[in-house]
Each structure stands twice: as structure tokens, then as C-alpha cells.
């Protein structure tokens, strides 16, 4: 059977499974809709958390990013796993003990103020929508490349599936669907990784394989990679290029941001007991670590394979994946020296970096671009980093069913995260804005109705993001983590560990974190883009890492302001005592 038929079968079967689970686990009360009736087993919750967390970015983009960044890419590996230690030790058990529905719920109650709740809701909605936009782009890429349907149709199919199980099943439906999605995505990630590891190093465990020697030689894979990358004018694969302080701050911003992401935190509200919240954070990190420890191996294999299979190859003889991805515009080749051979090295191949294709074909049959060649270097290849994981099985010439599996896995990763995000958005609207702030009179049944409506609206908006992708998605990812680190995380942490903090301090802290982080990122990413380089940054810290500074500002402002106002009321004191005691 050809790959495309297999892909239709795999994707179709996995979608049928998700819908089946959604029908089986419908939600009938707000308790079930928001937090799955607190009846989720810690292992199941761990899997659901892992699927919730591992998005299209983790599945599709991360390994590709690391493949091109080398050691600098470690910030994502450490940042997106280390946050779980903070979550497990500092937040999850206490927030579970508090036992309400949403993250703004806690902030509103702990700081006895609807203003604080509102600030939290604004941060939450901003962070979550930023994230959803990325998921929908992932769905679009997979559909257009593997199923050869129109991107828009792909996004609409994805929307319908998410609509079905999120609106119907709420948190309960999402949880059990995510368990299934985790199984699909991890299987799809590991199978090609193991295959490629055996092919390249003879070692079936990718985590060990990438520290092993290449097949039929005594040379270590990483040593070879260092040598090849330096020869092509890149930095050595296993060495940093960014400054230590910048790597430190980016890692920190990603870690604290991870611990402050509402759609992850809310997963720990769904387990029966406080001790289960700790346990499920542990399981979640195991399930996440399986993928995250495989990713750097995939990156190293992919980089090596990519160079091996295109370098100095005649375009006419180039492998079919090269031309397939060129056809959807994510690879471009410009024959700078007219020798009909593909040459790949450091530097941008094209002026303006991204290719602007016209309809013509060149002498070798390649797609022509309107861009001029960037003559400062001899690199002829433009490659979008997002395609490495998807293209990897094809580059390594694995059988068609592996390629089909990867497509189904990528969709599982994108859909599971999108559903989790849409749910926290809808809960914050129906619960925090309507029930707790503006329409306190509504009954539970009405609240459930509004929750379903806002989920539907959120899905619709997310779909629009997918069909008309805003060009700034990549830029705003830094925003999502920076803001979570600078606003939500400190408010939660101090709420639990610092009793003296009153509402004035907390609100001032959140607002100052929000303002300073946004100002810095907007300045360098949107207004003064040409100044966005290490020489101009504050202490050499890039916008991606600035959330960490925002967090420190938040702590500092909150501590100083809170002494000018009176202590929090007795009831809050008792509440904090009670959450500290399991």
C-alpha cells in the first residue's frame, strides 16, 4: 500500500478512537466539565498531562530546532522539563488542596479581590491563545503534506474533532482522549527514532545511540557531527554559541513559565487526593521525559542524515522528500554557482531568508524564487526547521507505515494540546468572568451551558488562527512563556509561601511583571526589530529570556508594596494554613 493510503487509515482510525472515547465519557455537571469530577487516576492524569503539555511544538518543531541549534537547543530540553520539578514541589499539591476549578479562582480567593482575578484571567487568555495558534498551524502542516488536502480543510476537520470532544466531554472527555493521544504520539515518536538509531549506530536505544559510534567505524556520532558542522562553517554541534547569561535566563524563563501555564496546572485539580497530585506530577514528567530525552538523539541523527543525503548531490538525483517539501514551500534551493549540485553550509541562502516562490522551474527542475541570492556565503539551501521530525523517516528511508504513524502522532500532539487550552479558556470565561464576577446569579446548569458556548467560540477563533495564521506566531511564543513566568507563577508561589502578601502587593507585582516583560519583548520583536541583537540587550538577555527578569521584578515590587498596606484578612491566613496542611 502506498504511504498516503496508510496515512489516511492511521489518521482515520485514531480520530475514530478519540470520538469513541468522547461519547463514552460525556460530562454532565460543571464539576465534571471543569475538573473531571476529581476522579482521575494519577497514572492516567500523568499521561493526560503529558499529552496536554507536549504540543505540536514539542512533537514537530523541537527536535528540528535542536538539530540546527546544537547545544544551544538545550534550553528547550531543560526548560520544558525542569518546570515540572517546580510544579510538583511548589504548586501542584497546594493548589489541589485548595480544590477549586481554575487558576484565577485561586488568585481571586487568595488575594481576596476580583481585580486580581481579572488580571489573572487576562494573562491566562493571552497565554493560551498564543499557544493555540501554534497548534493549529501544526495541524495545517501535517494535513497539507501527508494527506494532500487543502490546509484550510485540514484545520476545519481538526476543529470539528476538537469541538466534538471538548464541548461534549469537557475536562472528563479531554482527559481520557488525551490518554489515548499520548499513547499514539509517543509510539509515533519512538518507532522512527529507534529505527534510525539502529541504522546509524546499531544501538536500539536512541538515548544511548547518539553517544555511540557510527556503524562500521570507530568514530563517535557526535564527534563526526562536530567535525562536519565546523567544516561547513557552522559552530561545532556540541558547543554553545549564545552567552552563558542568555542561556541561563532563557532556560529559567521557560522553566518558570512552564510551571505557570494554566492548562498544565489545572490538570492537577482533577485527581482525588493531594498525594495523588504529587504522584501524577511525577508520572507526567516520566511520560514527558520519554519524548524529551529521545528528542536530542533525533536531532543529532537528523542533522547528520540531512547533510549526508543532500550535500554535493545533483538536484536531479535528489531524494524525493527534498522535492516533496520543496513543493509545499518549506525547502528551497538556489543554484548559486550553476553546477547543478546542492551545496549546504552556514549562512542564509536567500536575501530576506524566507523563499518567495514564483511558478517557474529552473534548469535542473527546481522551483524558482523571486529572492536574490545572499552572496555573502555559498549556502544554496533554505530549509524550514519545522520539517525535520516529519521528514526524518523519509530521509532515513523508513517504510511507509512509519511515515503514516508520524503523521497520526503529530496530529495527536496538536489536537490534545489545543483541546486542553480551549478548555482553560472556556472555564476562565464561564467560571471566572461570568459566574464569579459579572453574572453571579446563574445556576450550575446555565454555567455549564455558557462553558460549552465559550468553548465553541474559542474553537472557532482558534480555527481562524489556523486558516489565517498570523505571521507573528513564532515571535509570540517567547511572550507566552515570558508572561506566564512574570505574572502567573510568582502570584501562585507567593500566595502559598508568603502569607504577608496582600492584594495590593500581588496586583502591583503582576502588573509590573506584565508591563515590563511585554514592553521589552514588543520593543525588540515588533518595534525596533533591527536592534534585536546581543549588543543592545539589557545585560545581554534576549527577549526570550526576559520573562525571568520580569519575574524578579514582580517579586521585588510585590515585597516592597505589600508593607505599605494592611495585612491580608484573617480568613486568608486560615486558608493558606489549610492548603499547607494536606
Amino acid at each position: 500500500m502506498d504511504t498516503q493510503v496508510l496515512t489516511y487509515i492511521f489518521v482515520g482510525l485514531s480520530f475514530a478512537l478519540y470520538i469513541g472515547i468522547a461519547i463514552w465519557s460525556r460530562a454532565s455537571s460543571t464539576n465534571e466539565f471543569y475538573i473531571a469530577g476529581k476522579g482521575v487516576h494519577p497514572v492516567a492524569n500523568g499521561m493526560a498531562t503529558a499529552a496536554d503539555w507536549m504540543s505540536a511544538a514539542s512533537f514537530i518543531s523541537m527536535a528540528g530546532l535542536i538539530a540546527f541549534l546544537g547545544k544551544d537547543g538545550s534550553v528547550y530540553l531543560m526548560g520544558w522539563t525542569g518546570g515540572y520539578v517546580l510544579l510538583a514541589l511548589l504548586l501542584a499539591p497546594y493548589l489541589r488542596k485548595f480544590g477549586q476549578y481554575t487558576v484565577p479562582d485561586f488568585i481571586g480567593a487568595r488575594y481576596y479581590s476580583n481585580a486580581a482575578r481579572l488580571v489573572a484571567v487576562i494573562c491566562l487568555i493571552f497565554v493560551s491563545f498564543t499557544y493555540v495558534a501554534g497548534q493549529m498551524r501544526g495541524v495545517g502542516i501535517v494535513f497539507s503534506r501527508f494527506l494532500e488536502v487543502d490546509i484550510n480543510l485540514g484545520v476545519i476537520i481538526g476543529m470539528c474533532i476538537v469541538f466534538f470532544y471538548a464541548v461534549l466531554g469537557g475536562m472528563k472527555g479531554i482527559t481520557y482522549t488525551q490518554v489515548a493521544q499520548y499513547c499514539v504520539l509517543i509510539f509515533a515518536y519512538l518507532v522512527p527514532a529507534i529505527f534510525i538509531s539502529i541504522l546509524m549506530t546499531g544501538n536500539p536505544i536512541p538515548q544511548l545511540g547518539f553517544g555511540d559510534t557510527l556503524v562500521n567505524s570507530d568514530v563517535y556520532l557526535l564527534d563526526k557531527l562536530d567535525k562536519v558542522t565546523t567544516e561547513l562553517g557552522f559552530n561545532a554541534y556540541t558547543e554553545n554559541t549564545k552567552s552563558t547569561i542568555d542561556i541561563f535566563c532563557i532556560t529559567a524563563a521557560l522553566m518558570f513559565g512552564t510551571a505557570g501555564l494554566p492548562h498544565v496546572i489545572v490538570r492537577f485539580f482533577t485527581v482525588p487526593r493531594v498525594s495523588d497530585a504529587r504522584k501524577s506530577a511525577g508520572y507526567a514528567l516520566i511520560f514527558i521525559a520519554i519524548l524529551y530525552s529521545t528528542a536530542p538523539a533525533v536531532s543529532a541523527f537528523a542533522r547528520m542524515n540531512f547533510i549526508d543525503s543532500v550535500q554535493e548531490v545533483q538536484y536531479k538525483e535528489a531524494p524525493s522528500w527534498f522535492k516533496n517539501w520543496e513543493n509545499i514551500g518549506l525547502i528551497a534551493w538556489k543554484d548559486k554557482n550553476n553546477d547543478e549540485l546542492i551545496q549546504y553550509s552556514s549562512g542564509n541562502a536567500l536575501e530576506g531568508v524566507k523563499p518567495d516562490f514564483n511558478n517557474g522551474r529552473g534548469l535542473s527542475g527546481e522551483r524558482l524564487v523571486n529572492n536574490n541570492s545572499d552572496l555573502s556565503n555559498s549556502n544554496e539551501v533554505y530549509i524550514d526547521r519545522d520539517i525535520m521530525v516529519l521528514a526524518n523517516p523519509e530521509i532515513a528511508q523508513l517504510p511507509g507505515w512509519v511515515v503514516a504513524l508520524v503523521a497520526a502522532g503529530a496530529l495527536a500532539a496538536a489536537l490534545s494540546t489545543a483541546a486542553g487550552l480551549l478548555l482553560v479558556i472556556s472555564a476562565s470565561i464561564s467560571h471566572d468572568l461570568l459566574k464569579k464576577t459579572f453574572m453571579t446569579q446563574i445556576t450550575e446548569k446555565q454555567e455549564l451551558f455558557y462553558a460549552r458556548c465559550s468553548a465553541a467560540v474559542a474553537i472557532f477563533i482558534a480555527g481562524l488562527f489556523g486558516i489565517y495564521p498570523p505571521g507573528f506566531v513564532a515571535q509570540v511564543v517567547a511572550f507566552a512563556f515570558g508572561l506566564a513566568a512574570a505574572t502567573i507563577f510568582p502570584a501562585l508561589l507567593m500566595g502559598i509561601f508568603y502569607k504577608r502578601l496582600n492584594k495590593e502587593g500581588a496586583i502591583a507585582g503582576m502588573l509590573s511583571g506584565l508591563v515590563i516583560t511585554s514592553a521589552y519583548i514588543i520593543n525588540y520583536k515588533f518595534i525596533n526589530v533591527h536592534l534585536n541583537s546581543a549588543d543592545n540587550w539589557f545585560l545581554g538577555i534576549s527577549p526570550e529570556g526576559f520573562g525571568f527578569i520580569g519575574m524578579i521584578v514582580n517579586f521585588f515590587v510585590a515585597f516592597s508594596i505589600c508593607y505599605f498596606f494592611k495585612k491580608p484578612p484573617k480568613s486568608v491566613d486560615q486558608m493558606v494554613d489549610s492548603i499547607r496542611n494536606p
Binding site: G73, S74, V85
Partner: protein
Amino acid sequence: MQKNYWRSNLKILSILLSIWFIVSFGFGIIWSDSLDQLQIGGFKLGFWFAQQGSIYFFVILIFIYIYLMNRLDKKYKDKSEEKL
């Protein structure tokens, strides 16, 4: 009673978080280049901590935390039952 529980909890947190900091920010970032002088198999040590080791330590740390907290919970639960 609750004060002691909280104090033990904070002690556990500070020890585990120090290890958390050392394996990731320490070995993976600050001292990573010096650790790279050591090579184990195909891995330079600093590179290994940055891309593999820190993740394994994170998992272990959470499970140590779960174990210690369950023990602590049990200890204080037993005590409060004795009092009754």
C-alpha cells in the same frame, strides 16, 4: 504540630531544589564548558547534562519528593491520631 510539618516540608524543598539547580543551571549551563573536558563514551559530560542528564535527575527528584512527603504525611497523621 502544623508548624513542625511545614518546617520539615521547607527543609525537603530547599534540599531538592538545590539539587535541581545544580544539575540543570550548574552542570548544564554554568560549568558546562569545563565539564565538556571530560568525555564519557561519545558524550562530553557538560553536553550530556544539558541534553540528557538534567532530565533524568528531574524525574528522580520528583520521586524522592513523593517518597519523603508520603513519609512525612504518615508521621504526622500517626501523631495526631495518638493524641485523640
